[in-house]
């Protein structure tokens, strides 16, 4: 369905009578840069110009300080293993993945500062790795940290960082790309994906098929050989990867001959500097291809997957390549979000919510505290040893890539390092992360190196049933556990109205882009529910003892509409 949208252009959107700066457009912006906004935030946004609001969002993303490093990242081997065995029953890696996922969603949900984190999620689906292949807590966290660090930074720096990221080394076999004697054939897995999926797109480099045995891919693989996470010999016969150390360049595993990539030769005996040369050479030789590839991908993520406007891509490329902001991501995002094009009517509601968007945005848009502890066991659960201090049993635990046995009981000294790192457990957002996993968006484990296909692939009957049932369940929990909060939110949202038609209409418009009159009529009856006489006799109020039930029914109706799948 090409070209059904008014093209618009890259000039900043200036509200007009026909394209007013209204709630719908504010919600559109917040849904694309995060998980939507509360009604209060929408009001605040309406008091700003669109341009100023986008500047604020993008500036916040740029200036957002990285979170402090978690303590466990710096533990030595013994401390980590002791904690894992004694305090986490061998599950520290799983817990970390789970909490990092949940924390990621929680950070996106903070609409003021969410863009940096949501862009990191975008890059997770670009520079894909799968935790099930690389394993390990430290690798996972440093991969996440790399995404976050460069999410709105410089794309060239990002590429350099990802090449020697441990998770990526394991995931695309850099770890085993060793050329230690002239007969060794380098492993091309990373080199191929680096050009095909990460920077250029298919057809912009040579490979076996197009150029024979010496080609851009094989030469790049040679240049990147020799990078690996070290192995550490624990006891004779048992080793683990040294996850506490950065990856190491081993000259003896590196092919130090001259390589020719994109027609350019590397300096002789370049050693550890080959990796930098690969990145420099790529960005010098193929800037236009990179710009096209990356700007299109950002456009699809923020605007629409199939309705791609070449004019605006060109404008994005221009700023991406401008010498003063070369390869910077933030200016591209800023231009796009500010553009008249971004705010075209046709894009409102045209995107299928990803699981992360579907499950998280409800909580944001209903102003539910994501950190409430509605479940029965609140608080950080895992600060207590699973086993008694003195009688840790011999155990088998998982470290990246290998299982080893600990022969003797180890003592479990109290490790004073479990501060508030795992507080997210048993909160709504923790459940969102779990539901994303179950609904096809297993964070840290995309299905393959191509990542999630997004958009329509999120929809199938089984996925939709899962979405309905889980979100309906959450709506129920909120209405029972946070009754006063949800009622206060609703009363505020509808401006204190006690007219069921008004309540239904405003609520529908808040959660759905284009509700129809018939749907609003049905929603009105759903809200009235068993209280028909109470309304008729005029004594219904927000203090009515069953109001939370009515809210629950209304919200349930809304989240099960097909329209609610779209944002």
């Amino acid at each position: 369905m090409p070209n059904c949208c008014t093209t618009g252009n890259s000039a900043p959107y200036v509200p007009t009578l026909t394209k007013p700066w209204n709630k719908k457009r504010v919600q559109h912006l917040y849904r694309r840069v995060g998980f939507g906004a509360t009604s209060q935030r929408i009001e605040n946004a309406l008091a700003m110009t669109p341009e100023a609001l986008v500047d604020q969002i993008v500036d916040n993303a740029i200036n957002l300080p990285l979170p402090p490093l978690p303590d466990w990242l710096g533990w030595d081997y013994d401390t980590y293993m002791t904690a894992n065995t004694c305090h986490y029953n061998g599950q520290l890696t799983n817990h970390t993945r789970q909490y990092t996922s949940a924390g990621w969603l929680k950070n996106i949900a903070d609409a003021e500062n969410g863009l940096r984190h949501k862009m990191a999620l975008f890059w997770h689906n670009h520079f894909v790795t799968e935790h099930t292949k690389y394993g390990g807590t430290h690798f996972l966290y440093r991969y996440y940290r790399t995404l976050l660090e460069h999410a709105v930074g410089n794309f060239k720096d990002f590429c350099r960082a990802i090449i020697t990221n441990e998770a990526m080394l394991f995931y695309l076999d850099g770890q085993v790309n060793k050329v230690s004697n002239p007969d060794d054939i380098p492993n091309e897995n990373f080199a191929r994906e680096f050009y095909e999926l990460f920077t250029l797109g298919p057809g912009n480099y040579t490979d076996d098929d197009t150029a024979g045995p010496i080609n851009d891919i094989s030469e790049t693989a040679r240049a990147l050989s020799g990078w690996a996470v070290e192995r550490y010999y624990l006891i004779p016969g048992h080793w683990v990867y040294a996850w506490w150390l950065p990856p190491l360049f081993s000259p003896e595993n590196h092919d130090d001959g001259i390589k020719t990539v994109f027609g350019q030769s590397s300096p002789p005996n370049n050693g550890i500097n080959d990796v930098d040369w690969i990145v420099d050479n790529l960005f010098e030789q193929k800037p236009n291809e990179i710009a096209e590839f990356i700007c299109t991908k950002i456009y699809k993520w923020l605007v629409h997957y199939t309705e791609i406007d070449n004019g605006i891509i060109e404008a994005m490329k221009t700023i991406f390549l401008d010498p003063s902001t070369q390869f910077e991501i933030a200016p591209v995002v800023r231009l796009l979000l500010k553009s008249e094009h971004f705010f075209e009517d046709c894009f409102l509601g045209s995107r299928v919510k990803s699981p992360a968007e579907f499950f998280s945005s409800f909580f944001v848009e209903s102003d539910t505290s994501l950190l409430e502890y509605p479940w029965d066991t609140p608080g950080p659960l895992l600060t207590q040893p699973q086993l008694g201090n003195d009688d840790c049993l011999p155990d088998t635990y998982c470290s990246p890539g290998i299982s080893i046995s600990v022969g003797d009981p180890i003592s479990c000294p109290t490790v004073n390092v479990f501060e508030n790192e795992f507080w997210i457990r048993h909160t709504y957002i923790d459940n969102c992360a779990w539901d994303c996993n179950q609904n096809g968006q297993y964070i840290f484990n995309p299905p393959n190196v191509g990542g999630w296909d997004e958009h329509y692939t999120w929809l199938s009957p089984s996925q939709m049933l899962y979405r309905w049932n889980k979100l309906e369940y959450q709506v129920g929990r909120i209405s029972y556990n946070q009754t006063s909060e949800i009622l206060a939110f609703m009363e505020n949202l509808v401006g204190g109205s006690v007219d069921p038609a008004v309540i239904a209409s405003i609520t529908m418009h808040h959660f759905i882009v284009h509700p129809t009159d018939e749907q609003i009529a049905v929603a009105t009856q759903v809200f009235i529910g068993t209280a028909q006489a109470v309304f008729e006799e005029g004594y219904w109020s927000w203090d009515y003892f069953d109001a939370h039930q009515q809210v629950k029914e209304l919200l349930t109706y809304i989240v099960r509409l097909p329209e609610y799948q779209l944002c």
Binding site: N469, Q519, Q525, G529, E553, L561
Partner: protein, 692 residues
């Protein structure tokens, strides 16, 4: 009296059951589908987007085959019904009138039921039909003064009590009484999705009555226009009528997928389509009728029952009974609607001989005050009369001690005292109507209650193993040669079909006398259906024995019917016994039911939902829409598709306007396209049980 329909909401009327409705915004819930990974899935393509669709679970131990086919209908009168103006205590008219000087039904406008009680004339003089006939024919009962200890005068607590079967003394019981009952029928309904909805509730919100510890077990239909949409298209959302451009495209896909997730829509549509053409009853067609919500709801339910949906419990909501002021304006309309809707409903069921299979119960959270208030209304009371309808009432009439107005007056009572616990009625329904094992009753009811003698025909009255007049098989198959997708087969043989059943030749040698007076315009072909007893073999020799054989008409929809258009009826089966069925066609590979069917008045078997519905390994082919169909190409009817079938075709490969076995695609012309139907199936072996 009631020119303007009350309690009518936008989008609620079923103006014309066949009318297309664009009202695609409504929703029904499948709360109980919380785990879905266990269901089988097959793929289809929609706009090049792969979709997962669920194959209906081939469950057999369902309500369809449970020990009886009785249906329960609960009409919930929301707001607290004033039963003193419904079952008027005409025997103590003076006291009644004294307490209700402005709202009492005038003495000359009463129809005497006997025993000192009367119905208002507006309930027996209704325009279309009325309760007088039902009362006289013993299809209506009145239970006096129904209530419970420590009644609540709160609508919500009252409804909660009546839903969960609680009283006002202890804490309310968990879940609903119908939920607890249905969960014993479908203990594993999360994993094994029942083939048809166990309960249907037409209303806006889920009712606690159907709550279980695994969620609500009813299929909630939010309005009749929901059903309009389902009945028109077999789906709940219109995925074609969407706005243009990319929003509309995304919405269309979201709706299509949502439809795919609504597994019961197809069954509801099929049952409705079958039901609306069954029986001879003509519904009133004027506008006023359509405006009466209850009438439309019951009309729809009648069609679903006649169409054999197999749903055990229906609940319909009727609001507006909270009559605090100007009561007579609204209350009389509501009551006349009930009278009219219920009596027309039963006329329809009677015409299809189903009136004794359907029991209707009215419930309301409380009755109203004895005296009227100063605004010509009544306030919240406690006990009230309950009405019951249907041919399954044993000794129709009055039950329970009646209210004693003189006594109430002397006690200065504000409301009626309860004499019959409503849970005794529930207990009677479970034990006598739904045939629940007596050892389960206390558990389901949360206490010990007493079945009311003579109220409902006990289960022993229908007996087990007693011969039933006719065993109707509702079977559905598709023929590959004629199947065109979208649940329809091509109809091309109308002018060449034989009017006598064509199976009186080898290898069938069936001598039945089925013949057609005219060929229905949706008839695809004849099929032969054999009822078999015994346990089938998967190898070796055929093990089952043919008990009865019938020739049937295969319609474009896949339904097999008798020559008169009714479901194919068998007469030689034994109720409660297990049978298999073999479906034979003159040039498709014969198939055999994979699962046994318990003989009952209505038996259901849908071969089209999965190839596994046919015994053996891939004895049916799957069309690209996911439907299973019989393999084309067995032109020689020997149970194997092989070269000899091709030879039969090539003997005379060009014939016009014929009814012959080598016409593989059933278009009346023998040509290359028929060999093409054979070609992809050309080495397909049938199972041993289809042998002769």
């Amino acid at each position: 009296m009631c020119n303007h329909p009350i309690n009518q909401r936008k989008g609620q009327t079923l103006k014309n059951p066949k009318a297309h409705s664009k009202d695609h915004n409504l929703w029904s819930r499948r709360s109980f589908l919380s785990t879905l990974g266990t269901l089988g899935a097959s793929s289809l393509l929609l706009n090049k987007i792969p979709l997962q669709t669920f194959a209906a679970s081939p469950m057999t131990a369902l309500l369809n085959s449970s020990e009886n086919d009785r249906v329960l209908i609960i009409i919930r009168l929301r707001g607290g019904n004033d039963s003193l103006n419904m079952v008027v205590p005409s025997g103590e008219y003076g006291i009644y009138q004294n307490k209700r000087p402005t709202i009492a039904i005038p003495q000359n406008e009463l129809f005497d039921l006997g025993e000192g009680f009367s119905l208002p004339n507006f309930m027996v003089n209704a325009e279309k039909s009325n309760l007088q006939a039902m009362w006289n024919e013993g299809k209506m009962s009145v239970v006096h003064a129904v209530g419970y200890p420590n009644p609540s005068a709160s609508h919500f607590d009252g409804e909660r009590n009546w839903s969960s079967a609680s009283d006002g003394i202890g804490a309310p019981l968990n879940y609903g009484w119908m939920g607890r009952y249905l969960q014993t029928e479908f203990p594993n309904f999360l994993e094994n999705l029942p083939q048809n909805p166990p309960a249907i509730h037409i209303g806006f919100n889920n009712d606690r009555m159907f709550d279980t510890d695994m969620g609500n077990i009813s299929y909630l239909i939010r309005s009749l226009s929901d059903l309009d949409q389902i009945i028109e298209s077999g789906s709940l959302y219109d995925s074609n009528d969407v706005p243009s451009c990319i929003y509309g495209e995304a919405l269309g896909i979201a709706r299509s997928v949502a439809n795919g997730a609504q597994t019961y829509t197809t069954q509801i549509k099929d049952a409705y389509d079958l039901g609306i053409t069954s029986g001879s009853f003509e519904y009133p067609s004027d506008v006023n009728w359509a405006g009466k919500y209850l009438g439309s709801q019951l009309h729809l339910i009648a069609n679903l029952i006649k169409g054999g949906l197999g749903t055990k419990v229906y609940m319909v909501d009727m609001g507006g009974f909270d009559t605090h002021y100007s009561q007579n304006l609204t209350h009389q309309c509501l009551l006349s609607h009930i009278a009219e809707a219920v009596s027309v409903f039963y006329e329809d069921l009677t015409a299809s001989n189903l009136d004794s299979k359907v029991l209707t119960l009215t419930i309301s959270e409380f009755g109203r005050t004895f005296h009227e208030n100063s605004s010509q209304g009544t306030d919240h009371g406690s006990a009230a009369a309950m009405l019951m309808f249907g041919g399954g009432l044993e000794n129709a009439g009055f039950f329970g001690p009646p209210p004693n107005l003189a006594q109430l007056e002397s006690n200065n009572a504000h409301a009626l005292e309860w004499h019959t616990d409503y849970r005794d009625i529930y207990n009677s329904v479970l034990e006598n109507w739904l045939c629940v094992d007596t050892t389960l009753l206390n558990g389901l009811m949360g206490g010990t209650f007493t079945t009311v003698n003579g109220l409902i025909l006990p289960c022993s009255a229908i007996g087990d193993g007693t011969p039933i007049g006719a065993f109707r098989l509702h079977a559905k198959v598709f023929l590959e040669g004629a199947y065109e997708g979208n649940g329809e087969m091509r109809v091309s043989l109308t002018n060449v079909l034989p009017t006598n059943q064509p199976f009186n030749i080898a290898p069938y040698h069936y001598d039945g006398t089925e013949n057609l007076s005219n060929v229905a315009d949706t008839m695809v072909d004849w099929v032969l259906v054999e009822a078999r007893s015994g346990t089938p073999n998967t190898s070796g020799n055929r093990a089952t024995v043919t008990v009865e054989t019938r020739a049937g008409i295969l319609l474009a929809s896949g339904d097999i019917v008798d020559v008169d258009g009714n479901p194919l009826a068998f007469s030689s089966l034994t109720a409660g016994e297990s049978y298999h069925f073999c479906i034979r066609h003159r040039n498709h590979l014969d198939i055999f039911t994979a699962n046994p069917t318990i003989a009952s008045e209505d038996m259901f078997y849908d071969f089209t939902i999965s190839p596994d519905q046919a015994l053996g390994t891939f004895q049916q082919k799957v069309f690209m829409d996911g439907k299973a169909m019989m393999y084309a190409g067995d032109f020689t009817q020997d149970g194997t598709i092989q070269v000899s079938d091709y030879d039969a075709w090539s003997n005379n490969p060009a014939q016009l306007d014929v009814y012959t076995n080598t016409d593989g695609n059933l278009d009346g012309v023998v040509q290359n396209t028929d060999a093409d139907t054979w070609y992809p199936n050309k080495a397909k072996l049938g199972i041993v049980e289809i042998g002769f």
